[in-house]
Amino acid sequence: MSARNITAERLLALIETYGADVDAYPEDERESARVLLKADPQAFAAALEEARSLDMLLQAVPPVDTPAELRARLIDNAPKPARAAGRRWRLPVWIPAGAIASLSVGLFAGMSVAQTSTPAQEDQAQELVYAALGFDTYSMDLEDEAPQ
């Protein structure tokens, strides 16, 4: 930003507008303001004094801090991550994949056994199933089914 030369009248206006602190003036007018103030301090002394008393009162106004409770509310109202916002429960990918794999292995094993087993092995297997279900014996069932 290039510096701008200002008149004494403009400097008085700046003092009235922004106060006694040259750093508060528009950036491009600060340098020229400093030169004028240094060249003729008495010309601006009264204006500076009046401005300084008001500056001190304004500087005494304490800053406003955001109370913790308000801060929490502001954050709570903010956007949430997409997954949390939807709250859709999804199973991890490995669970259905694992189930499908187990099912395939089971089916394959079952079919292999069925194709290679003999009638005697089938009877043994059925007997085991009956026993597991709580029936007395497989042979008893066969007797019950025998023609009278």
Binding site: T17, A24, E50, L70, A78
Partner: protein, 180 residues
């Protein structure tokens, strides 16, 4: 208050990044609350305005286009909400107006400094609203002339005119209060 840093945080906050949300709140809520407090003179109302300002900001984040600085946009929203509330206040009858800070209420209990501060705060609130806004943004919140003018949607020349009148009005009001 870097522009690029704001943009990055806005993008992340829009996606729900809690750290970016907290950073934006921590960076700007104090300034917004301060402007609302100085304009309205009522802490509870100022907090409501701050909350409403940030609600609007959160809604605007997904489609945010950096035409203005985020801080400028936020302060402009807050200021307009304050103007709305001040307008509504003028519509209610005088007896329903919220009680304003009065340094004469408990002079014996107040420290001198505290009284002076209260007198200044009350004098700022008593200023015409645009003058109060200009003074708050520049003298109390430290915004540059260009930023304050952009927030208020006025030229820098108009801002300077508001500021000069605000300072004159403040001085006169304080002299009247102290009787000097």
């Amino acid at each position: 208050m870097a522009f690029s840093s704001d943009l990055d945080q806005i993008t992340r906050a829009a996606a729900g990044d809690p750290a970016a949300v907290s950073a934006l709140v921590d960076r700007y809520s104090g300034g917004v609350l301060a402007v609302a407090t100085r304009m309205l003179g009522d802490v509870s109302e100022a907090e409501d305005v701050t909350q409403e300002t940030f609600l609007r900001a959160w809604k605007a984040l997904p489609g945010w286009e950096p035409r203005a600085k985020f801080s400028t946009w936020l302060h402009r929203v807050a200021l307009n909400l304050c103007y709305d509330r001040l307008r509504k206040r003028r519509e209610v009858t005088m007896e329903h107006l919220p009680e304003r800070t009065d340094p004469a209420l408990n002079p014996a209990e107040e420290l001198e400094q505290k009284q002076r501060v209260r007198a200044v705060e009350a004098a700022i609130i008593a200023l015409p609203e645009r003058q109060a806004a200009a003074l708050t943004l520049c003298a109390l919140q430290g915004h540059s002339q260009a930023e304050a003018a952009e927030i208020m949607e006025v030229s820098v020349e108009a801002l300077e005119s508001l500021l000069a009148r605000a300072r004159r009005g403040l001085r006169a009001s304080l002299m009247e209060r102290t009787g000097s």
